[in-house]
Symmetry: C2
Subunit: 510 residues, 2 copies
């Protein structure tokens, strides 16, 4: 067996470690010309890594001419780097077929997002969602808006458009911001296909492989997925979730991260952070801006939940507090209106918007104009403001139902955050307890949630879980939380009994 | 002045060359601790490169701790790599403001796409477009489709959807393909935000910085832009445009490229290649597939113009001819229906689609569902088939008008391609003539086209130009081509006169 030792904790990608160690074995003479190395599947099994990791390492070594694969025979060490890539011999099996697995660039962290959207059977109680329920959609009003814009400006909508966005939507947004007391110039605005794309565009504009980004841990898995794909070194900043303390991003910890690392940007959700539901106080926001300015590190402010505030006063956004132009704010219609329309926006300094506009141009030319036009009309007719107000009432009642149910049923030793808005709440179970185990039991009773572990990109706390309250009605919230708490209590009793028996057994031995 | 020599022809990015040369100067002792190096703007001027290039090199050296920037004072060589990144001193000017320019990852090749869409004044004759004219849009039929789907399935459309596409559109496409005699299984299909995004997703799935891709030269600048952004080494494959020969991608040249390089994939537009308008014969397609299979290199087939065939018989696509599953076909509604709706699709082997689906999930979750639903209805009501047939007649007449006008007015020594479809024609002027110069004159007379140079990513031929015929009516085609030819003739006469005078002058000297 080859003397290979991969470090899964390292920020160096596994395939790079493997590639470098194999190369070193050739250079040291431990592997020689003509030596056969294990098939990727075999070596993956030995090392306990995904086969693509080995395939990637092999692909790179092959492109360096250090190893050579012969279909049907295996992979061999070459003497000297080959100067020409001679045609591969045709094999019987898949001769001529591309070896797709070896060609993929890497395994991106994509399970993350898929795991958030499990298949939930009809009739189940799904605390898994963090989005508006579709019974809240004013479909008829929206249909009339679509009709009106297609009648009035159909040709313009259907023709190729501007990369920075459909002009009427840009105008409607700027006016809407003004009605909220925010001054945004059109040159500071870029329409995107939602926040997910906004993060992707920011990464494309700023990131080179190996760059570092500081972000909350736990975090929104969609962001982690993009950063992993861009080969970013993710630096975790803890989030305080204990309601007895100042909740939200730990700015002291962030400062330590900035002191010890060259950070490309900070990604943060100051309002109703997904998954924890925590928000940063104005004091913490000012400190964050001050620290970021001191290290001249830009901040990406994810404001996607900001307009879903359910109680407490509205703190200014980081962008509003910032005096240096260091904040790129991203936002979307997904949480306040319709997730199925992929429309969001980005507010930043002019030079940043211009850069992001060029990146967007080469990414997808522009955002779909039918939805842009319809949403512009939806804003101008006042539907959006009404929808946001109506949703707020709905979520207030659901949040209250959830808090009441937790208060009533949760056993001693558990805690949960006190969100002032957003769509999720974060529950911490007694230490040593695994929310994944609990899910196995609740699922049997038709109750679904997302284990907190799925949101950590480092050092997960298995005793945490996320409860989304936006998409479940009050009755089902009460029922679902009770099921969850009953099962939790029963599991805790089992554990205590186990402990007692263990204790008695020990006593008996003595 | 520093002894720096950048090679613009190299495939090594300029900023990497600069970074490495500066690092070498430090290691050799030519630059020492405390030495001040020029400001990025100044050095960029000296080297004749973009300021971002220098900023990128400096940013990397700074992150290595080799140089250090002090706001207001300049950039200096450091002794040893700094272990901690101490807060930068606050300057008076932009203290605390992020230095955005130094933070951008690179200069992507984005001018490419912008240059294709110049601002054309109203009333001008724009041969610049390669898209359907908006007077062709059946807005009323489309509006009724939108209405119907919002009435029938509004909630589902507006709610978060599946990454591989809106189910009714996927079904409608599969049926439509079947009506064309193509068998596509749903697992082989992924809905994208158009071909531009499809190329971007393919790059994300396959490309690591420094990988090589073979593609036509000249090429669609949108593809070049994505590849440049992904730091791809682009390997040019010439396109034969002489109507007297077998036009299209030069497969012999491609084979040489594959022999000499490890190529990640081949990007090719076999039908009505943009910009040249050439199509590959069935024989050439078979050869291309055979060569690609021999080297086990996948092919990305851009079929965006394939359904705009105006004459000749329909050759099978590369995907249809391929027996190895080596082809990823990308396509879109942009050229056959509405460019303002960003909806396209991708057909490939199941394992590839699954990979691309995960990449798309982390890129923008899914494509906008309102347009997907409306287009599904548009297909099912038969509107798309009728629209394609109608557009074909329109373009046939326009192509005929353009060929007639060129035949009638073009001076001797010029040639042009004979497209059998698509939306563009490629004109070659006498050698030594610059189409960019001609544009200066035609623009004054209200006639616009795109110089061929904009489509080459290597070794541009300045005496070429692209004429789009889809968006100009017959009368304006005749007028526009006449203006273009008149000015061309007059420029040619000037040149001949110049030559004659030069000749006389020489004779006189003798």
């Amino acid at each position: 067996m080859l003397p290979l030792h991969l470090q899964t904790e390292s920020h160096i990608p596994l395939y790079v470690q493997l590639r470098d160690q194999l190369r070193a074995l050739v250079h040291s003479g431990d592997l020689r010309t003509g030596d056969r190395i294990p098939a990727s599947r075999e070596l993956a099994g030995q090392l306990g890594v995904h086969r693509t990791t080995v395939a990637n390492a092999y692909a790179e070594l092959e492109s360096e001419g250090l190893i050579e694969g012969h279909v049907g025979r295996g992979t061999f060490i070459c003497g000297a780097p080959a100067k020409q890539f001679s045609p591969l011999p045709r094999a019987n099996g898949n001769g001529g077929a591309a070896r797709w697995e070896a060609l993929f660039a890497d395994e991106r962290g994509d399970e993350g997002l898929s795991r958030l959207m499990p298949d939930v059977p009809p009739g189940a109680i799904a605390f898994t969602c963090a989005r508006p329920p579709d019974e809240s959609f004013p479909v008829e009003e929206f249909r009339r808006c679509t009709n009106a814009v297609l009648r009035r400006e159909g040709r313009r909508i259907l023709q190729l458009g501007a990369t920075d966005g459909y002009e009427p939507l840009r105008r409607a947004l700027v006016e809407w911001f003004r009605s909220e007391g925010l001054n945004v110039r059109p040159e500071q605005l870029l329409i995107t296909d939602g926040c997910q794309q906004a993060i992707d565009l920011v990464c494309k504009a700023f990131i080179r492989a190996g760059d570092s980004v500081a972000l909350e841990n736990p975090a929104y898995p969609g962001a982690v997925s993009i950063l992993a794909g861009a080969r970013v070194r993710m630096l975790p900043v803890p989030v305080e979730t204990d309601p007895a303390r100042a909740v939200g991003l730990d700015v002291d910890a962030l400062e330590t991260v900035l002191l010890q690392n060259r950070v490309k940007f900070i990604l943060v959700t100051p309002d109703f952070h997904n998954p924890t539901g925590t928000s940063m106080s104005v004091t913490q926001r000012r400190r964050l801006l001050e620290v970021a300015a001191r290290y001249q590190v830009p901040i990406i402010e994810d404001s996607i939940y900001a307009r879903t505030r359910l109680r407490g006063s509205i703190p200014p956004s980081l962008r509003a507090l910032d005096t240096h132009g260091n904040v790129i704010q991203i936002d979307s219609f997904s949480k306040i209106a319709f997730p199925g329309l992929r429309v969001g926006w980005c507010i930043a300094a002019e030079s940043v918007i211009e850069r992001l506009r060029l990146v967007k141009l080469s990414t997808d030319l522009h955002t779909d104009q039918l939805s842009q036009a319809a949403l512009a009309e939806f804003i101008q007719r006042g539907h959006l403001t009404r929808l946001v107000a109506k949703a707020r009432k709905r979520y207030q009642s659901r949040l209250a139902a959830m808090e009441e149910a937790l208060e009533k049923n949760m056993p001693h030793g558990t805690s949960w955050t006190r969100p002032e808005g957003g769509m999720t709440m974060w529950v911490t179970l007694p230490p040593g307890f695994d929310a994944g185990d609990l899910l196995i039991h609740t699922r049997e009773r038709g109750v679904y949630f997302v284990p907190g572990r799925y949101f950590y990109f480092q050092s997960p706390l298995p005793n945490t879980l996320r409860l989304g309250f936006s998409s479940v009605d009050e009755k089902n919230i009460a029922r679902g939380v009770q099921v969850l708490c009953d099962l939790l209590k029963s599991e805790l009793r089992k554990r205590q009994r186990g402990n007692r028996e263990e204790f008695r057994a020990r006593v008996a031995v003595i």
